[in-house]
């Protein structure tokens, strides 16, 4: 490795294996330091973006205060649709939160070269997405001030949560996932904090980076344990990523609601999560590589490789949709059949077709290498996929509940302005954290970039043996 020098740009190229994606335009360790550190530092545009994000977040925050005062009736719930936008948005953000750890852990284990440039941003995205998602179960419950009852802790009531409930599994899965994602992100950041500490001139910032770097000094001993710990974290995170969205899918699959009660849900949800997570990575990374002038770090080869993942997961998700329909027909269970008919051709056809279009049809464009290497198209596609995946959760949650066993209780659902405030607020909250992140911490793993940059050698012929 290290000798494959692919040109940086150009539209039509021979297909590059994902593992071989390289950074030919990055030549020295110093260049990495310089270029990544130069992305830090405030700009007016950034401040403006932050202000918009904080504003949106405040919309959500005030909606929450309002809702807590009046009760959940202010949201659009319409029994029997007892779960609505909050759960949809929860699953949406948890899904987004899957790309980061997938990239940093699973692709690490698979030695996928294209991961290096994007994994830090994706990991941060994961943390913030899970932080966003984690709010929604609390927002969604009727008495949010009693949320801690779901956590097992010794108490004077002698009461414990019900470990048979998928919601308690959720608590465990989401809190574990958040903890591990934060840990993973932080561990990866330690050597980079050391870099920042050593390059920083402002004494206050230097001090802060110093504390954050935990006294890291790049010694061989540190690297040895670091590498091992990182490997095991990756090894643990791999099943964790798969389990988290499986557990989220259990919220649905464990119930007997037609449209929810399906054994395909765990793989279906995991694939959907990766699909939506990669889309969100595009949404973030494509503008970022442009604005931060990092096109030679996130090359078209990188985008091409991620597009292949998106294409694959889109096929998985599409296959899952088809299997759901097939099983409903094949099962011969009338409530199931009537429900799926209603979902696709009845009351909810518009939502179902938005989902099918965005998640199944549009990503098929990625069979074309031209489009895979077109950042503009990928960015627009990512928006469609985000919308499509939100609607996928809508289609799972709402139509199923509205058309259950008891025909007398069939209903409908329209979100209210409060629901929408929370949706807006969630994006505000997410981007607020992300924007704060990109200006304080390196958006790419400096230390890992250096791993693929060819180091300086005195005797050039001597390189590349390992």
């Amino acid at each position: 490795m290290g000798t494959i020098a692919q040109p940086v740009d150009g539209l039509r190229r021979p297909n590059i294996a994902s593992a071989d994606v390289q950074l030919p335009a990055v030549e020295s360790y110093e260049q990495v330091d310089r270029e990544i550190i130069s992305t830090l530092g405030f700009t007016k545009k950034w401040l403006l973006g932050l202000a918009v994000a904080v504003g949106a977040m405040l919309v959500g925050a005030s909606a929450w205060i309002y809702q807590i005062y009046w009760g959940l009736g202010q949201a659009g719930y319409e029994p029997p649709v007892m779960w609505g936008v909050y759960i949809i948005t929860f699953v949406f953000w948890v899904g987004i939160g899957h790309a980061g750890t997938l990239i940093s852990a699973i692709l690490y284990l698979f030695r996928a070269g294209f991961r290096t440039s994007i994994y830090r941003a994706a990991e941060a995205m994961t943390v913030f997405a899970v932080m966003t998602a984690g709010l929604f179960p609390i927002i969604h419950i009727g008495r949010p001030w009693k949320f801690f009852w779901l956590i097992p802790y010794p108490n004077w009531r002698l009461l414990w949560p019900n470990f048979k409930s998928p919601l308690v599994w959720d608590v465990f899965a989401i809190s574990t996932y958040l903890t591990i994602s934060v840990t993973f992100l932080f561990i990866g950041l330690i050597p980079d904090f050391a870099v920042l500490r050593d390059r920083e001139t402002n004494p206050v910032r230097k001090r802060i980076y110093g504390i954050l770097s935990l006294g890291w000094r790049n010694s061989d001993r540190e690297w040895r344990h670091f590498a091992k710990a990182y490997l095991f974290l990756a090894a643990f995170s791999t099943p964790l990523v798969l389990s988290v969205h499986s557990v989220v899918s259990f919220d649905f699959a464990m119930s007997l609601v037609p449209g929810w009660h399906a054994s395909i849900f765990p793989p279906y949800f995991v694939a959907g999560a990766i699909f939506s997570g990669f889309a969100m990575v595009w949404t973030i990374a494509i503008p970022m590589r442009k604005w931060f002038k990092l096109e030679h770090y996130i090359t078209l080869n990188h985008l091409d490789a991620t597009a292949k993942v998106v294409l694959f997961t889109s096929l998985v998700v599409g296959c899952a949709y088809m299997i759901e329909f097939f099983i409903a027909w094949y099962s011969g269970v009338r409530p199931e059949q009537e429900f799926f008919w209603n979902r696709v051709f009845g009351q909810w056809w518009w939502a179902a077709w938005i989902m099918l279009l965005c998640n199944m049809a549009l990503p098929m464009s990625l069979w074309s290498q031209k489009l895979r290497r077109n950042p503009t198209w990928l960015w627009f596609l990512s928006i469609f996929i985000n919308i499509g995946m939100w609607y996928e959760r809508f289609v799972i949650v709402v139509p199923s509940l509205s058309h259950e066993f008891s025909p007398w209780q069939w209903g409908s659902y329209t979100p209210s302005w409060i629901d929408m405030s929370f949706l807006v607020g969630s994006f505000g909250w997410f981007f607020m954290w992300f924007l704060l992140f990109v200006k304080q911490m390196p958006v790419m793993a400096i230390m890992e970039l250096k791993e693929i940059v060819v180091p300086k050698r005195k005797h050039l012929h001597d390189g590349g043996h390992h």
Partner: protein, 166 residues
């Protein structure tokens, strides 16, 4: 800690210096590098990390705790829900798994911290900010008696700078 520090800019010269220093047995060698390089690992040929044991113990503790807390609390105040068993081990596997991952990961991190001796709160001896940038460093812990020998060796291999630390 006394010793001699050498800063290198090239990987191959660093590796050569490490290999020779190890042979010379002039004192404990600490290598600083901006990133993980297998060449350096091979040259140092250090012991395998014990972090894996932390991981194993943490994971086992976690899975045990996960099963235990769910079974014990169910049994402590048995309330039947949905006609299901009080100790339903199948769903409790999820709890067991999640807690295994949680405790396993955290103990892995703890293992890394303990073994890598971080966090360090005091300033470091024998470290130079360049080592997080583009330079490799070699610090040899040795008394003043051996220092000139080390300095010579480092300079021979093309160190950009060699200095003594007290």
């Amino acid at each position: 800690m006394q010793g001699v520090l050498g800063a290198f800019h090239e990987l191959d010269t660093t590796v050569d210096a490490i290999e020779e220093l190890k042979k010379a047995r002039l004192g404990h060698v600490t290598v600083f590098s901006p990133t993980i390089r297998h060449e350096i690992d091979d040259a140092i040929d250090g012991p395998n990390s014990v972090v894996r044991r932390f991981t194993l113990v943490g994971g086992l503790l976690g899975v045990t705790f996960g099963y235990w807390i769910s079974i014990w609390t169910g049994d402590y105040w048995p309330l039947v829900t949905g006609g299901k068993a009080i100790a339903s081990w199948i769903p409790y596997t999820i709890i067991g798994f999640e807690v295994m991952v949680l405790v396993g990961c955290l103990s892995t991190v703890a293992g890394m911290f303990i073994n890598a001796r971080i966090p360090r709160l005091t300033s470091t001896v024998g470290y130079d900010p360049r080592f997080s940038g583009g330079h490799f460093g070699i610090f040899v812990a040795c008394g003043a008696d051996k220092a000139p020998q080390v300095e010579a060796l480092l300079q021979k291999h093309g160190a950009e700078e060699v200095r003594r630390e007290d």
